[in-house]
Symmetry: C2
Subunit: 316 residues, 2 copies
C-alpha cells in the first residue's frame, strides 16, 4: 500500500476549516426506495450544499489553506461547472480574486452563478487543450494560484468531509456508493471510510460513456477517457495521478451504468424523494436499478453529489 497523500489528520483539519462556510447537509431516507431495493438507503444530500454541490467542500478547504502570500494574487482554475462556482464562492469568502476559465458553450445558468459569486470569467473554445492553455496564460498574467478541481490533496481532504459527516450521522454503514469522475469525491470518500469506519466498503459508480475509472481500476493503470459523452456532466473528467492510487488502495469495486439507467434513477429520486439532483448524483442509484450491486438487508450510504441542473432541459 502506498502512503496516502491525504491523512486522517488532513481530513479532520479540513473539516474544522470549512465548517463555518458550508452546510452540514442532511441525510434523507425514503421508505419506497428501501422497499424497492430491500435495504436501508441513506442519501447524503450534497445537492443542498452551498453553491449546489459537494465541490464547495474541497474548494473552500483549498482557498482557506493558502497562506497570506499564496493568496495575494488570487486563485484560478478551468471548469465548466460546479468547481468554478465553488471556487468563486470560496475566493469571495476570503476576499481574494478568482479567475475561471470556462468553455464558451458552458451552461448560461452556471456562467451566471459564477458571475454572481464575483468570479472573473475567461471564455475559451471548448477543448481540453484550449482550457489548459488559456488557464496557463491567465496564471502567467495574474500570478494566481491554480486550484485543480480534483488532483489536489487539499481538494481531496475537503471532499472527504462529506463521507465523514455521513458516517458520524449514520454509523455502521455496510457500504457507501459514490459517483466517479476525476475521483476527488470517490478518493476522499474511500479515505474517510478507511480512517473512520474501516468496516465500511466503498464502491464507485461511473457512466459507461465515461468509463476511464472502471478501466483504470481493472487494469491497475491510469487510462484516461477519450471523448466521454455522458449526460452526467460532472463525470466527464478522467482520474488524476493523485486520486487514482488512493482509489486503487481503498475502493472495493467500480461498476458502470448506462445512460438510460442514469435518467431512470434521476427521475425516481425526483418523483419519490421530491428533491432536485443533477444527473451525476443519480449514477449510484442507477447501479442498483441495473442490479450490479447487491445490497439486500444492508445499510448503504449514497452520496448525492449536486443539484445544479438546467430545469429547462430535463432528460425526459
Amino acid at each position: 500500500m502506498n502512503t496516502p497523500a491525504v491523512t486522517a489528520l488532513d481530513i479532520l483539519h479540513a473539516h474544522e476549516i470549512i465548517k463555518p462556510y458550508i452546510h452540514k447537509t442532511q441525510v434523507l431516507t425514503n421508505s419506497t426506495l428501501n422497499n424497492l431495493f430491500k435495504c436501508e438507503l441513506y442519501f447524503k444530500c450534497e445537492n443542498f450544499q452551498k453553491a449546489g454541490a459537494f465541490k464547495s467542500r474541497g474548494a473552500t478547504n483549498a482557498v482557506f489553506s493558502l497562506n497570506s502570500t499564496e493568496m495575494k494574487m488570487g486563485v484560478a482554475t478551468h471548469s465548466s461547472g460546479n468547481h468554478a462556482q465553488a471556487l468563486a464562492r470560496a475566493a469571495r469568502l476570503r476576499n481574494i480574486k478568482a479567475y475561471l476559465v470556462m468553455p464558451a458553450n458552458s451552461a448560461k445558468v452556471k456562467v451566471e452563478a459564477v458571475k454572481g459569486y464575483g468570479g472573473e470569467i475567461h471564455f475559451c473554445i471548448p477543448t481540453l487543450e484550449a482550457r489548459e492553455s488559456t488557464l496557463e496564460e491567465v496564471i502567467r498574467q495574474t500570478g494566481a494560484i491554480e486550484i485543480h478541481p480534483y488532483n489536489d490533496a487539499r481538494i481531496i481532504a475537503g471532499q472527504a468531509t462529506a463521507a465523514k459527516e455521513m458516517l458520524e450521522d449514520i454509523p455502521a454503514l455496510d457500504v457507501i456508493l459514490a459517483p466517479v469522475g476525476g475521483g476527488g469525491l470517490l478518493s476522499g470518500t474511500a479515505l474517510s471510510a478507511a480512517y473512520f469506519s474501516p468496516s465500511t466498503r466503498v464502491i464507485g459508480v461511473e457512466p459507461e460513456m465515461a468509463q476511464d475509472a472502471f478501466i483504470s481500476f481493472k487494469q491497475k493503470q491510469l487510462v484516461p477517457s477519450v471523448n466521454p459523452d455522458t449526460i452526467a456532466d460532472g463525470l466527464r473528467t478522467s482520474l488524476g495521478s493523485l486520486t487514482f492510487p488512493i482509489i486503487l488502495d481503498h475502493v472495493s469495486d467500480i461498476i458502470t451504468v448506462s445512460e438510460r439507467s442514469i435518467i431512470e434513477a434521476m427521475r425516481l429520486i425526483w418523483e419519490r424523494m421530491k428533491i432536485v439532483i443533477e444527473p451525476s448524483s443519480a449514477v449510484p442509484l442507477a447501479g442498483l436499478l441495473e442490479k450490479k450491486i447487491e445490497l439486500k438487508g444492508l445499510k448503504a450510504g449514497i452520496i448525492l453529489s449536486g443539484g445544479n441542473v438546467d430545469l429547462a432541459a430535463l432528460p425526459w
Copy 2:
C-alpha cells in the same frame, strides 16, 4: 366570533392520532431567498409528507377517527389529486376499503399512485356534477362513509397539525403564509396560530384565476368559483361552509397572484432550494414576488403544501 367547529383539543388529539403514520416534515431555510426578500423565511416541507402532500394529515385523522361500526364499509370521496392518494393510503393503514371517484382525465401518475395504495377507483366524466352523482351512487352501493377533502372538522384538525409542528420548531413567527383552495389547510393553519401562537398572523394566498376565497373574504359571504383554471391544480376548489367562517374569523388577509408569478416562484424554489414542489406550493412565494406582502425584517413561515407534479409537463 362564531364558535369554531374545531377546538385546540381537536388539533392536539388529531396530532396524537396521526403521529405514527405521518412524517414530522422538516422546516428548511435558504439564505439566497432570505437576502432576496430581506426577511427570514421558514419553509414547512409538506412536499416531503407521506403521499407527497399535507393531505395525508387530514385524511389519516379522519380515517382513524372512525369507530369500528363507521369504518366497516370503508370510506369514499371524489378527488382528482392528493386527497384521493392520502385517503387511499390512510384506509390501507387501517385495513379498510377506499372508493375514489376520479375524473377520467386525472393525471396518470395520480391514478397509479391511488392504485398503488390499493384504492378502488371509479372514473367519471370531469364535471363537478358527475363527480358528485357518481360518488352518491358509489356510497349508495357500498355503504362507505364520505370523507370530504376539506369541509370536515376532522380534516381541518388534521391539516392544522402542519402549522402546529412549524410553530413548535420555529417559535415567534410573525406571519404564516398558506395557499388557499377549499380552505382546509388555511383554516387549520389559522386555528393553530390562534390557539398556539396568537401573535402570529396568517395570510392566505390564492391564484387570481381561482379567486373565490379572496372575493368571499372581502365580501364576507361565500361566493364559489366559476370555472377556475389555474396551473395550481390543488387550488381549483371553492371554500366550504365549514372552512369559510374559520377563515373569516382567524385569517388576517387574503391576496391573489398571477399564473406567471406562480410559475416564477415555483422555478425559484426548485433552482435555489433544490426541492420538487407542485404549483400550489409556490403560490405564497408568488405573493412575495409580486410585492403584495411586505415582510422586511420579519420571521415568516411558508407552508409548501405538496410535491406531486408531472415531471414530464413542467410549466417552463
